[in-house]
């Protein structure tokens, strides 16, 4: 058994191309966890249970910005059934903050709270209701402080500083300490280019705060171990990133915090940051008992970061024959009280602010603010989603002003392979932007006014208002809208982005079995399905076992940024190739003298056998291995990226680009302002679909989240108090099956030669263009200028 670590850069050519193996890549094999999930046996993080377990409860601030004058826990502690009450003073280590990039987030508030719902105290009790009631008995005396809620109040000369004494690496280049990060991008000469413009359009756009609204609430179980450490079972997107943040504040070495991934009920970026992880560990260590924390939906709205709301100011010019001349924009993202992923969101928003278009003269600026609003961070497509909403509105405005068809106008300016991004990076893989638009446009439109043509079969439920039976077609108008977007794949800007895979090949009951062990968070996306397929393809085996994800193996990086099939899929492929080489080496040693093909031919693994390129069987894998096991753990990296220059924004910052286009067909009841999305067709290039069933599922799911933020989803924060007003599924609406239309999907597979199997990360792109396509369709139906998303009935009927 050999166990070592070797780094192989992405795209390193191997001299063997494995042919098709049954159940390998390209087949829509079914999820390995499907049976457990349909029988209720699959163990999610909220399903964990332990003998003698306590329940943890978080007490959160009821105000957004205040000094904590005093905390009195005596009544809570005195309650029967309460085992522990913890505040800042009880934190065991010198390190009392955590954070993804900047450690600015207190584990428990210290003297001051900076947003509504900030954790202040913890309770452990023998029943969740006892814990809740005890938390309610903790008395906190707040002295409220002036609020910072938007760009004006954040950057005012006398603005209160959200974080005093900043020493993070962005403070040196931001113009104000209430700005987390600023990224300008300057290329060409906008002033000169503007002179060539025959038309110029300007726009100011507002993007609302979206919630990930994953269905499985933040939850987990911490079990104290005999060595003074802790075992943590939790739902997260990146075990090792959690570990790096958890261990220091517990005052434990990382090896004493043993993490195992529990079942994850969706993520969408909302589990990149720490939620209850540290709190559960603190309570478990304080009580020396297992502690379970499960947020309810109300708390979940405070327990994770949201999508950055944004203000976007754009100016575009074009010649009368429809060529873009220049673009100038400023994107202001509200990062809320703590940094979370704000710096990366700024990087994406600025570098992708032009969209998938050729633009040589640009002047771009993106900033994220510190405010007293809820912290914002990662959500599917971050940075790129907000920009896409704005630049696509601009494209429609330009086309209208030029009297051109909006799709043809986009196609005329569409980027392609070889286009230079505003950062100076050359797009080095297929970029079928015009083709994706052509495909969604060529699709036949759903029949108009079905309620008239369908006669007796007319179904009122398909109309705006649906089950509420609010119209039989009166006042209903149709609109069609288009949009296309560009997203980066993987961690950018010089981040050392890698993944690790351990693969063990051995013979069990006479049959070769591959065991794949990674720390990849399976959050529903189907990563474990493709790992199974990759192992089959590369090792020619049928049986593949997926080891539970834990911190006993190297980091897999985050399940985000559309990166896991590329990165951990790539890592599994890479390790399997090394295992295959090791197997063939054993084969050569044992059998090489019996057949010259061992030395001369290209050898493949197929159907449990070693075969030559020509199909001649040389040996059974099982016979080569006998009682030996090959066990390798290797790291895999994509091609290195560079940070963006802090003045010019130049740099090869991204790993890969990914594209999707949408066509939305909507019907709007103009009297009531109700919108029915009739169809939301999409086309996307995925490079290579490792599992088409999963790919289509991702595209439809991402499209629906984009629809949600177009017409209903928004966390409402009261600008007077910075308090969240709708933290429930009663008041924060996500699309139901009645709100969601048919979503026809057209998948292109244009290989990116530098990626494993030519694949392209694909999970986020559908969330970008879905929103602007729906809004464009509503604009066309109503003739209204809509510059904000989501757009709700009161705005469509003018009763706002």
């Amino acid at each position: 058994m050999a166990q070592n670590t070797r780094t192989v850069p992405a795209g390193t050519p191997t001299n063997v191309t494995q042919k098709h193996n049954k159940g390998g890549i390209g087949e829509s094999i079914l999820r390995p966890d499907g049976t457990l999930k349909v029988t209720g046996e699959f163990a999610y993080s909220s399903d964990m249970w332990h003998e003698d377990m306590l329940w943890g409860q978080t007490l959160r601030s009821t105000v957004a910005h205040a000094e904590i004058v005093s905390i009195d826990i005596s009544e809570a502690l005195a309650m029967p059934g309460v085992y522990s009450v913890l505040t800042y003073d009880d934190l065991p280590a010198e390190m009392k903050n955590y954070g993804l990039e900047i450690q600015d987030t207190p584990v428990l508030a210290h003297g001051r709270v900076r947003h509504h719902g900030e954790p202040v105290a913890l309770v452990a009790a023998d029943h969740p209701e006892t814990a809740r009631r005890a938390a309610a008995k903790i008395k906190i005396d707040y002295r409220e402080l002036p609020l910072v809620t938007d760009e004006a109040s954040a950057l005012a000369p006398d603005a209160p500083l959200i974080h005093e004494g900043r020493d993070d690496h962005h403070i040196g280049h931001v113009p104000h300490p209430n700005i987390v990060h600023r990224q300008p991008i300057i290329r060409g000469n906008v002033e000169e280019a503007r002179k060539r413009a025959d038309v110029i359009v300007e726009g100011e756009y507002t993007f609302g705060m979206q919630d990930q609204a994953f269905l499985g609430p933040e939850s987990g179980l911490a079990v104290p171990s005999e060595d003074g450490g802790v075992e943590l079972y939790v739902a997260t997107q990146w075990l090792h990133s959690d570990l790096q943040q958890i261990a220091p504040v517990l005052g434990l070495p990382p090896e004493k915090v043993r993490m195992t991934l529990s079942g994850v009920g969706g993520a969408f970026g909302g589990r990149e940051d720490i939620s209850m992880q540290i709190h559960a560990c603190l309570l478990a260590l304080a009580t020396n008992k297992p502690v379970k924390i499960v947020y309810n939906r109300f708390e979940s709205f405070f327990g994770h970061v949201h999508r950055h709301p944004a203000k976007l100011y754009y100016e575009h010019g074009a010649t009368k024959d429809g060529k873009l001349t220049h673009m100038k924009c400023k994107i202001v993202l509200d990062g809320g009280a703590y940094a979370s992923a704000s710096p990366a969101v700024v990087g994406n928003a600025s570098s992708l602010s032009v969209g998938p278009y050729v633009l040589e003269d640009v002047d771009i600026e993106a900033i994220a603010l510190y405010t007293n609003n809820p912290p914002c961070g990662a959500m599917r497509g971050f940075g790129a989603v907000q920009a896409c909403f704005a630049y696509e509105a601009q494209m429609d405005k330009l086309a209208a002003k030029l009297g051109m068809d909006p799709v043809e106008f986009r196609q005329l300016n569409a980027m392609e392979m070889g286009t230079v991004m505003p950062t100076g990076q050359v797009v080095d893989a297929p970029a079928p932007v015009a083709e994706l638009l052509r495909r969604v446009k060529a699709r036949p439109l759903p029949p108009e006014r079905q309620w008239e043509s369908a006669g007796e079969n007319a179904d009122v439920r398909a109309l705006p208002g649906g089950l509420s039976n609010t119209t039989h077609g009166e006042g209903v108008v149709r609109g069609v809208g288009y949009a296309v977007g560009i997203k980066n794949v993987g961690f950018s800007e010089g981040f050392d982005d890698y993944s690790t895979a351990r693969v063990r090949l051995e013979v069990i009951n006479g049959e070769p079995v591959a065991m794949v062990h990674t720390a990849m968070a399976e959050v529903g996306q189907g990563g474990i399905t493709v790992h199974t397929q990759i192992a089959r393809t590369e090792l020619g085996v049928t049986q593949v076992t997926i080891h539970p994800a834990d911190t006993q193996v190297g980091s897999a990086g985050s399940t985000s940024a559309s990166r896991q099939t590329y990165m951990t899929g790539g890592a599994v492929k890479n390790t399997c190739e090394a295992v295959r080489e090791a197997l063939l080496e054993i084969g050569r040693r044992k059998n090489g003298s019996y057949h010259p093909a061992w030395a001369t031919a290209e050898l493949l693994l197929e159907g449990g056998k070693v075969v030559t390129d020509g199909g001649e069987v040389l040996a059974d894998i099982a016979d080569i291995l006998e009682n030996e096991a090959i066990d390798l753990e290797l790291e895999f990296r994509h091609a290195a990226t560079e940070p963006f220059d802090l003045v010019t924004g130049q740099g090869n910052g991204h790993v890969q680009y990914t594209f999707a286009a949408h066509r939305a067909v909507v019907e709007v009841d103009t009297e009531l302002g109700l919108v029915k999305v009739v169809e939301l067709a999409t086309a996307q290039d995925v490079g290579k679909a490792l599992n088409m069933l999963s790919v289509v599922g991702q595209i439809q799911g991402g499209t629906t989240q984009g629809l949600g933020v177009a017409i209903m989803e928004e966390i409402i924060v009261d600008p007077k108090t910075a308090k969240v007003r709708n933290p429930s599924f009663t008041d924060y609406l996500i699309p139901t099956i009645l709100d969601t239309p048919t979503i026809p999907v057209d998948v292109l597979e244009l290989a990116d030669p530098k990626a494993p199997y030519g694949l392209r990360g694909m999970g986020e792109a559908p969330t970008l263009s879905s929103t602007p396509a729906v809004i464009a369709a509503i604009r066309q139906a109503t003739g209204l200028e809509i510059n904000k998303t989501p757009i709700r009935p009161e705005a469509l009927t003018g009763t706002l």
Binding site: L30, V38, R297, F729
Partner: protein, 210 residues
């Protein structure tokens, strides 16, 4: 207090139940049946749907004391419930819900989604300890797996109970019937298309089997 009721055909007794506990809490935390899910605990998402004396309800909105002497079916008992129904011959028939036989789809039509890509029946063996291999599934459970209607799976138990109840009432629902029946069940992963595929598939398989 003590609550006695039947869960998945088995008599159960829960002791020391606090009066404020929901049926969902008792199932998950006292009876070791965590299949019914706790996504919102306010009756908005449908993830905790169970059959209470045959009627689909959000178990988070039912006080545990209310189920005294009653009969509950959860996702853990769905396969057996479905099997019993088939054996006793009162499942799959047209109920009073309407729409029966008029707007449903054939098995071939229900499999339209397969045109999206090659579909292998090959299922991988994975999971270190327990894979659920060899478990007998109900028609609707199998259809959810086959159609790709399961991603994170947190909404799945509630949707299965609700969809199974729909097909019991209406063996060939139209798409709008399916949408109406499942409109109280939120899913954040799939965009619902493959859930529709799964219900159509289950309906078509059910009608072929009759």
């Amino acid at each position: 207090m003590r609550v006695n009721f039947t869960v998945n055909g088995r008599q159960q007794e829960a002791d020391d139940v606090w009066e404020g506990e929901s049926l969902l809490y008792v199932l998950r935390e006292r009876l070791g049946l965590p299949g019914s899910k706790n996504a919102c605990e306010q009756g908005e998402c449908g993830s905790c749907t169970v059959r209470l004396d045959g009627v689909p309800v959000c178990s988070c909105l039912v006080a545990a004391g209310q189920v005294e002497g009653r009969d509950v079916v959860t996702v853990e008992g769905l396969a057996e419930f479905s099997k019993q129904r088939e054996e006793h011959g009162h499942g799959g028939a047209c109920g009073t819900g309407g729409g029966c036989g008029s707007k449903g789809v054939s098995l071939d039509a229900a499999k339209q989604w397969q045109a999206h890509g090659p579909n292998s029946e090959l299922r991988s063996r994975a999971g270190d300890s327990q894979t659920g291999e060899g478990v007998e599934l109900s028609n609707i459970q199998q259809a959810f797996i086959d159609a790709g209607a399961v991603q994170c799976g947190f909404c799945t138990p509630g949707l299965l109970i609700q969809a199974d109840a729909l097909l019991e009432e209406n063996s060939s629902p139209s798409d709008q019937d399916i949408r109406e029946a499942l409109s109280g069940n939120l899913c954040r992963c799939t965009g619902y298309e493959k859930i529709l595929d799964a219900v159509r598939l289950a309906a078509a398989r059910q009608s072929e089997a009759v």
